[in-house]
Symmetry: D2
């Protein structure tokens, strides 16, 4: 049985997911595509060589009788309404991050899903599907390093464009750690503080770069995350978990070891797409499999809401320079694992 | 369009390939399975939950009108006849290594394929599909380390069973290097010599373990391969290419880095299945894609023949202690790349 | 010409320095030793097999006509008076850290030395003499990683005794970083904040362990130092300098690489003495050479004062939980390099 | 008590050892220097600022009443006669490698020393004093990797001059491994075979580069040593010991770890002097201490003889392409440890 997917939003990410479903993943086929731009729909369909219906109205995709499940890859501010519509239609929906552009919007989706009485939403947080993070979680959960006490993390990009501003260090960059670290530690955040070191000369007036984010969790784990989006040397994701009796660090990406020109070296990736490409495949394959099995298990609407609440606090911490509390309502029984 | 596969041989590897085609790969479905043991066929079909026809006669699978291509995963001595039958039927065939149990058998397949006028055979050598080997080949081909002069390789298993004898270090173990290194270097072998160091106390009377194999290529590259199948500590595949101006080594498998108990460590795999599991997926996906595209490009019957010729020389080198020439006929134009 | 040394304080460190001067270093000999405990003097002299005069009064050592220079290795609270006496006697003095137990005490030494018109004091900060830190400083100063923006450091001990309390994380442990990082960066501190993560279960009521110290320098470099003195797994000193275009990290101590029991590992030291043993030799050899050359160049009284001012601020930051300013008077011209 | 040394040969190595004894080591002073070139003597004395007698006749140095021990750093062909003269004079002698230019010459020294009834000779093999080799030997001797079965070694130089010829790969380069590996394994050699891979284009007509040396020990350990003296990328000494249950490798020299320009790297040394500089200090300090203690324990005349016998066999193996036996007489009781 092949799962029939409708895709809302045929921009870069939409095209990429259509290609992925068509040529890489198993068990699904894209049967409907919509975009406000008809040319984009056409291009996406041609690019992947699929035989899909094109729509100008996203709601038509959701309603289409041959669409079993929906992928939302449209403009961020439209995510909320399409996810709510999919829930209303009783159709499983995979929504690219952010689930909604406000915490309130995420909360409305959570409420709608609970009311629907069944998990219908998976948010596009892919790091929990990365083999490195999974291996790291296995080590933590094994007790080998004891109870985690501190995390030292870094999220470094070689460079960003002129449009990238200080707040985007949270909403576009840290958002991945905000989700992944909750999952890794099985814990929620209690507070956040942000410090700004001396700025790199490679940045511009509207971007303070780098930043140091200090998150504290409910259980008291202290996390420092260095965000440095003009670090020049590579795309480098680090996560070191300091436990009571040992330290476990995220694997370095596999690389040929080279002895050359007075150096013993391995490669650091330059393009973020190379780092998590398999995780993107895995997250969507999981969604497909879970929908077919009738039970979603990936990052939930609640996870999207929690990340959004934390991100809001981070933005306030950026502005005020103070330690800002992160207050998440109690996790509904519906989302207990 | 889904490729319909017939599988000959429903033992461990057959079952694994059926599962792979059904649940991991894209674009193929297993429609026919045969084995001399009817229970095995039944078990394989049930295990993967497929809807396939079961046969007792392998030739029926090859002839079945709904079978587009054949996978040969039967007992080694039967490979040759089934591959020849598939060629005769004009059907693409993926044959697990060895292609045939003798070099002469491999040669007969080569001759049959040339006569058929079209590449129909892919041999199950998976290392060229391993990401690590591919990355290593990219570095070599880039010229970054200059012309290769020497290779230092190791093939280590934690242990082998009592049935594993000295000759199997060639036919079951080194055979992978014999294929992979030809591909890596774009070169053929000229001679081989084998030296036996002091044996490990973990071995038995009929197995000299470890062994050092010294291969020389046509271009003069000198390759040493340590084969050590009771090394205890792990399954460890090493390949270091020494070039005129630098050295490139196969990536270590990605692993969590651990600081614990006075050690800074990463993991070494213990199970060979974990090392090349993705390469097995990739080689078969490639076969499926290539068959659908009408043009095979993976390890060819000629590659199977070349590995077999080299393996025969290695066996003779084991017995005689002498340097044995490896004489491969000129590569037919049919197999030029 | 051999430098004749008088040693004040024949406890563990005193004995060790006497042994070092006698059996490891070049160009000096210990001719006088004092301690409030006459047995300790006797033991120290016997242990190193030297032919030295024993004194009960430290001032006699300083005054002794055959003593060219003085080593102060007595009880911390006595350092200040002996160093001041050595300055008054015009004799070069190597004083183990701390230079004095208060910043005011350090300042009195600075003032006395300036008044003496000549550098006479070297403080026993040995990390600048460590080959690893020196190599790291070379890389920073070369400009290879660009201007430093952040430092991520760790100071981890496997365990500490019951007498070790929260404040000692500053005065006995961080004190080394407080000196070494000023030297490494050629910068002074502006402020400090201390955060307490969840405590390890291996600690006791009077020791909050671990701690995260956040130092900001005058040029805006943000430094985080993890202090974790019951980390169990080893004695581990880390220092990662994040610059505008690259990152340089302190070398790991050299170690045999081991493949064993499913691990690829190197050793982590368990004993702090093994980590900096050569640096102790080098600092004292430098003092000897500098005294003979008539010009001290090692860690100065000013450096001792600066570390003390920073340590005081850290203690206040521990108590208040606030960001505490670190205000150092302008560096006197006397100490300009 | 200071040991008074006489140095025979004031060329580069002589000057270096005089500087070492004068400014780095402890407990010795150079009181006499000879060279066939009087200017060299003068230069050496001035360079180190010592107050030594200069001689034109080496025998005068050996006979000088104020000379306690002799360092022979003269032209290789003169080593034997000066060492024999020192033995005859009953004076301890440290002789730079080679002990003599023929195995017979070494044997004459062995015989003379045995006749003298006391160890008087230390040969300048410094690798056993290298901390890395010592750490490796500790691991082997601990039994952690089990009984050694194979060694994979490499001796790589970035480049050599035009005067360096094929035989010097043995006499100037491999000679270090020939000594160090006997010591490391507590074993002697049984045979040697040499294979010549494709030559690097960076070599010249009289130098086959690289070479692979295959040594077998009396206990059956098989050693491969890659000698590659124009490897371009660095001075790199590798030694990997494969035991029955694990593998131990020589430590990489300590180095700053760098993340820069898409690489994660450490440094490879370019200059051999940087690699073993501390080992040179240690070997000579050991000689000084041992002479003062009345009992030599470093590389002996027998070790010099054994290395010479092995080197002769290697030269024959280079010429013949055959496996050549290495036949060492039984070790005299005099040299039992």
């Amino acid at each position: 049985m092949t799962l029939k997917l409708g895709v809302i939003g045929a921009g870069a990410i939409g095209k990429e997911h259509i290609r992925r479903c068509t040529h890489t993943l198993q068990g699904a086929t894209v049967v409907a595509v919509s975009d406000i731009n008809a040319d984009s729909v056409r291009a996406a369909i041609e690019l992947s060589g699929i035989n899909a219906e094109s729509y100008s109205d996203a709601y038509e995709v959701i309603k289409a009788s041959d669409v079993d499940a929906v992928l939302v890859t449209s403009w961020d501010p439209t995510h909320e309404e399409y996810v709510l519509a999919a829930i209303a239609a009783g159709k499983p929906v995979f929504c690219e991050k952010p689930l909604a552009v406000t915490a309130e919007g995420c909360r409305r989706i959570v409420d709608a899903e609970i009311k629907a009485g069944k998990r219908l939403v998976q948010v596009g947080f892919m790091r929990p599907y990365d083999e490195g993070y999974q291996a790291l979680k296995l080590v933590i959960d094994s007790g080998e390093i004891g109870v985690p006490l501190m995390l030292h993390c870094a999220h470094r990009n070689p460079e960003v464009g002129e449009n990238y501003t200080t707040d985007m260090a949270i909403t576009s960059t840290l958002i991945h750690e905000l989700d992944a670290l909750r999952w890794l530690l099985n814990d929620d955040y209690r507070s956040v503080q942000i410090r700004f070191p001396r700025a790199t000369s490679a940045t511009h007036a509207r971007l303070k770069d780098p930043q140091i984010v200090l998150l504290e969790t409910q259980s008291g784990i202290l996390i420092d995350v260095e965000i440095f989006v003009n670090c020049r040397y590579g795309y480098d994701i680090q996560c070191e978990v300091v436990g009571e009796k040992g330290i476990a660090s995220l694997p370095e990406p596999s690389s040929v070891r080279l002895r050359s020109a007075a150096k013993l070296s391995t490669s650091v990736l330059m393009d973020w797409k190379d780092r998590f490409i398999k995780a993107y495949d895995t997250e969507l394959q999981h969604f497909i499999n879970d929908v077919k099995a009738g039970k979603l298990s990936g990052p939930s609407a609640w996870d999207g809401f929690a990340a959004s609440v934390a991100a809001d606090a981070c933005l306030k911490a950026q502005e005020t320079g103070e330690t800002v509390n992160i207050t998440l309502p109690e996790r509904p029984a519906f989302y207990q694992q």
